[in-house]
Amino acid sequence: MYTYKSGIAQIDEKTGGFDAGTNILILGPPMSAADQLAYALTKPVPGEYAIVLSTNERAAEVIDAFKVAGADKRFTGVIDAITKSSTPGITDTARLMFVSSPTDLTGIGIKFSNMVETIFEGNFADGETGLFPPPIRFCVNSISTLLMYRRLEVLYQFLHVLTAKLKKIEGVGVYILNNESFDEKTLSLIKQLMNCVIEVKVEQNVNLMRIRGIPGVQGDWMKFSVSRGQVTIQP
């Protein structure tokens, strides 16, 4: 089974990376490096694909962020839940798909399936690498926004289906949730869907993270920074 490199030495040296089917929750406050960390974990290495469901940024901004992180944009797809409300006539391409709003879970589910199908059929990008099943990193940025529009129970059911689907296709999922805006019940329910939780906090302008749920990896707080898609753990 395929193993996804995390780019974090503490994980990759112990376990080789994330097993296929892993779902990772990144809990962090606003203005922390949670988004950057999520994108660094989602960035496709050669032979892989990335799909980002963006409820906060337009597709072009996501693609720019991935380009800056050193990702090959041909292997990065975005499901944009922002742009269509202001540009109703915008049309889908293989790599950029649009849903009317973050409330539209039907549309989000369909676009995700369509994008995965395009990848499986080998029609996503030039220079397909031929690995099967194709390794796919999927990022939801963010669950916090989805929770602002939909009830927790509904979103839980939806994410339950999505995480299960990701396991079936042997992908890896990265989900961002703002842990300061939601109560413990919400956090606890969402955590139930995950195999791994990475908590992020900021102290004196320094980003810290701790990793939970990966056997062999210690759950201590570690200083870290993200630059150009590379995560560096600082002493």
Partner: protein, 390 residues
């Protein structure tokens, strides 16, 4: 009757949906099934029926664009006089009252007003957000009460809903909310990933069996689809004739056999658009040396047909072996006794006995050279396939 916009489905329903019905298109998350609702809407508009579309999660412009993208260049939605309650209206309704009951009353009042002013025939509802806001029963009641009030008008109600609760919710719609047609649109990872199919769960006006039919989206429409029916049988039993006679477009890879007649050495391939179904037929070579290929042919097959020569008793032991290979796949299959127009044919009951098949396996006496015979067998096989639980 209101057409669903999908001919194959209309035919199963007995020419469409009776006016005044309640219809649920239940979508499993991730299944590309939005075209079912769009097809029905487009068809209703093409017939000049007055429609109201309730879409709380998007704007009219975005909806029109999506519908036209899905439906290609068909102009129905852009030109037809259709009334909308969209996300902008929905925001206003949400601000109209602090209580859900107040908001439900406001929505219902708007719907009644529109129904009266525009003499609405069909209401189309994207139910997801309303279900979350009011609960299933209260949200449905907003629309069913309008139907009840305007009973003589026979307003048809068509709901699309993202069903994350499974069959329990479908039962609730059937038993408690008295829906007349419940169609579940689903997907599976078997026989291959992203395998989409719809299940006719319930129809109130006809005693139809639950049926599941695969579909593909193509040419801007939902196409019921049978990806593979395997036609097998002993050599020279008439498989190629069957496939080529059934197909709109068929090919056979033949060589001259030892006896001088043509024999298939790779496969026969036939593609048919039949009663709105897209069907592909795979005819196998009949000689024993190709038997190792048969499991691969049967791999993703949804049905199989065994063709035997009614005039050649020597073939029957071989046919029996092939039946055993097909039976292992647990897919619907039938037997066509071919060449029944020739003299010296064997008695069908004798053939059934030698092949050791029970009465549950259909046995047809045909001549593969007659298109009507071929079509009859196909029709029966498609019927079995759509009723079979895979």
């Amino acid at each position: 009757m209101i057409s669903t916009g999908i001919n194959g489905l209309d035919e199963m329903l007995g020419s469409g949906i009776p006016r005044g019905s309640r219809v649920l298109y239940s979508l499993e998350p991730g299944v590309d099934g939005q075209l079912f609702m769009i097809s029905t809407l487009s068809c209703a508009l093409a017939k000049k029926r007055s429609c109201l579309v309730v879409l709380p999660n998007t704007t009219v412009d975005a909806f029109r664009n999506d519908a036209q993208r899905m439906y290609g260049a068909r102009p129905d939605l852009a030109l037809a006089p259709v009334t909308f309650i969209d996300s902008v209206d929905w925001e206003r309704i949400q601000k109209s009252s602090r209580s859900p009951a107040g908001r439900a009353r406001e929505l219902e009042a708007r719907i009644r007003k529109i129904c009266r002013e525009y003499d609405v025939d069909v209401i189309f509802v994207y139910f997801d957000l309303l279900n979350e806001e009011f609960g299933t029963d209260d949200a449905a009641a907003i629309f069913t009460s309008v139907q009840e009030m305007e009973k003589e008008k026979k307003i048809t109600l068509v709901i699309e809903h993202l069903n994350m609760e499974g069959t329990g919710l479908l039962d609730h719609f059937i038993r408690d909310l008295k829906f007349d047609l419940v169609l579940a649109i689903r997907s599976s990872f078997r026989p291959f990933p992203q395998f989409n199919y719809f299940t006719l769960v319930h129809t109130s006006w006809a005693d139809l069996p639950a049926r599941s039919v695969p579909f593909i989206i193509g040419e801007g429409r939902v196409i019921p689809y049978i990806p593979r029916i395997v036609v097998t049988g002993p050599a020279s039993s008439g498989k190629s004739t069957f496939v080529l006679n059934a197909a709109d477009d068929g090919h056979s890879v033949d060589r001259r056999g030892p006896g001088g007649s043509m024999t298939t050495v790779a496969l026969d391939f036939g593609w048919i658009r039949w009663k709105d179904f897209d069907i592909t037929l795979y005819g196998t070579p009949g000689q024993e040396r190709f038997d190792s290929l048969l499991p691969s042919y049967l791999g993703h097959a949804m049905g199989a047909l065994l063709v035997v020569d009614a005039t050649n008793a020597d073939q029957l032991p071989r046919a029996r072996l092939l039946i055993e290979m097909v039976a292992r796949r647990r897919i619907p299959f039938a037997v066509a006794i071919n060449k029944c127009d020739l003299p010296g044919t064997l008695d069908p009951s004798l053939i059934r006995r030698i092949l050791a098949i029970g009465d549950e396996i259909p046995l047809y006496q045909i001549s593969a050279t007659r298109k009507s015979d071929v079509n009859f067998v196909l029709e029966s096989l498609v019927d079995s396939i759509t009723q079979f639980r895979y």
